[in-house]
Symmetry: C2
Subunit: 339 residues, 2 copies
């Protein structure tokens, strides 16, 4: 790799001197405005920038930017629309505090979460967000590093040694299933992953129990379109099918819709669907998905604010989820807002 000259000692004044212009003109060239610069002058300034290896702002910024200017993020899979939308909201929030996001995926290599954290720490992050399920022992090790850290979306589990935040998965799922029960459906299956620890499965079971309905089947599906599609095919091929499905994510539900459509089952007429997350895609599925929406922007804002303020104490901060009623549950457009 070509070694570029060290930028620290070169100033805008050096560039101005070498190119025979004022520092203001250097600024106009480097910022593409606000005032126009004659082409020949412009070329001379850029030549000086190149020759000196000048990098704008680097010196001034290096003073104000220590280890705290970058916030690390470890995410299960940044392709997931929920996480893509959450990451975008984090980026929007981080800029208000002059931070940027350093993002690594859990699936990017065969490292443990703790090794990935070590790696980010070595890159001098000033805060860390982990969007994955982290065990108690791992949480203790990460906490000992002294980097402000927040966990999000821990399947609704309470935090251990690290601060955690997210919606109440159990209550949100209960609300979704209560809505299906209010439609009069008596057989309601759960479609989701990580069944043993996902509080959405518990919320589904609680709602059925409270309504005096039999527990439906819990159908395993990875958190992906493919997972939902495979689950939908399995359900469609059964001799007796449930009247309604509660899916643990919108992404799963979109896969379900594709499989049910292929099997010529109508949603919601044959099988109603309610899902979870509130990603943009849920509104453009057909039928549009009734879903328990997480407050993505609000959670992202709060996460960045807490990391910047070094206020990432242990404990779980709960956010409200909102049932967004569309068509897949059996409601008409006229009933948007719920019933």
């Amino acid at each position: 790799m070509v070694q570029h000259p060290k930028p620290r000692n070169v100033t805008r004044a050096d560039v101005a001197r070498l190119s025979g212009v004022s520092t203001a003109v250097v600024s106009y060239v480097l910022n593409n405005g606000p005032k126009p610069v004659a082409p020949a002058t412009r070329e001379r300034v850029l030549e000086a920038v190149r020759a000196l290896g000048y990098r704008p702002n680097a010196a001034a910024r290096a003073l104000s930017r220590g280890t705290a200017d970058t916030i690390g993020m470890i995410v299960v899979d940044s392709r997931s629309p929920f996480f893509a939308q959450f990451l975008h909201a984090l980026d929007a929030a981080s800029v208000r505090h002059d931070r940027s996001m350093l993002i690594v995926n859990r699936d990017r290599e065969r490292q443990s979460a703790v090794e990935q954290v070590h790696d980010l720490v070595a890159r001098q992050i000033g805060g860390l967000i982990i969007a994955d399920v982290i065990g108690d022992a791992e949480q203790q090790v990460i906490a000992a590093l002294g980097i402000p850290t927040l966990l999000i979306n821990q399947y609704g589990g309470a935090g251990g040694a690290l601060g955690a935040m997210g919606v109440d998965f159990r209550a949100g799922a209960e609300q979704a299933v209560q809505h299906l029960v209010a439609h009069g459906y008596r057989t309601i299956d759960f479609v989701g992953d990580a069944a043993a620890i996902d509080q959405r499965e518990r919320g589904w079971a609680d709602a059925l129990r409270e309504a005096g309905l039999p527990l439906g089947r819990s159908v395993h599906a990875s958190f992906s379109y493919e997972g939902g599609f495979a689950a939908g095919r399995a359900i469609a091929s059964r001799a007796t099918r449930p009247r309604a499905l509660f899916a643990a994510s919108d992404q799963i539900a979109i896969g379900l819709l594709a499989a049910l459509t292929d099997a010529e089952l109508r949603v919601p007429d044959d099988i109603a669907v309610v899902s979870f997350d509130g990603i943009v895609e849920a509104a453009y599925a057909r039928p549009a998905l009734t879903t328990v929406a997480q407050p993505i922007v609000e959670m992202a804002d709060a996460a960045i604010r807490r990391l910047v303020a070094d206020d990432a104490e242990p404990g779980f901060t709960t956010f409200d989820a909102t049932l967004v009623v569309r068509r897949s549950c059996g409601c008409d457009d006229g009933l948007v807002g719920g019933h």
Copy 2:
């Protein structure tokens, strides 16, 4: 913000000494294995880590990691599924070179692209990928900074002062429209954004001209589900509608499908659709979208490889796009592979 002790001078040996264990035991605790450590010992080690402000690997890594360990990425909107899938592929490729991605969105603040580049440079990136349209003057300013930089997806335009890469948008669009023409459709509209500079519009027009068909209408739609939905509503409400649509992105096409479905128009029977990008969502739309797929993983691998090798010379590197035939064009499943 609480100041954490500087990590540079603290070693694993210091932690071992303070906690009265071997350095191997410190490793077992910090890496959560491979050997188990008694709870009391574990707690003592973590206490020493906390007290000393020790950060694993930081010292060793700081030597090998200069300005080159982070690759900056400026992207129009990381929520877009195409960019989310591309960013994931970049992350997977970057880890093979011990790099991580620092990602900022173009829409994150009212900064010019050049200001955002200055900002990333101040964060000591070793390479830069810009997924946005950058004018010639801006390219010259960025090139002068001496950071290896690649542009991707410049609407197929040739690069200026910076290296650029992507598929041939014109040829890909032509292939899509030729497929619609082969189905016998005589009226084919274009739905897309940035009509004046998007080479996909030119490819659409070229294919119609070559087939001796009249030029259809060019319908404006932002690159979003919402944009496609609005365009679909406008098209559905016309007195005379086209027999087929070529959409500049799968995201636009998914919005189109929703609007056409709401208007009780059948795809492909009433209006056929072919789109562009090859995102995962295209396979789970119903009907599944026939689309011109970009080689996302291959492009991401090549981009990281070139930046790491400091081989980001000006010029445009072209990748092949592939027509993936599904149902939305009018092909049956039995004809997958094209005709």
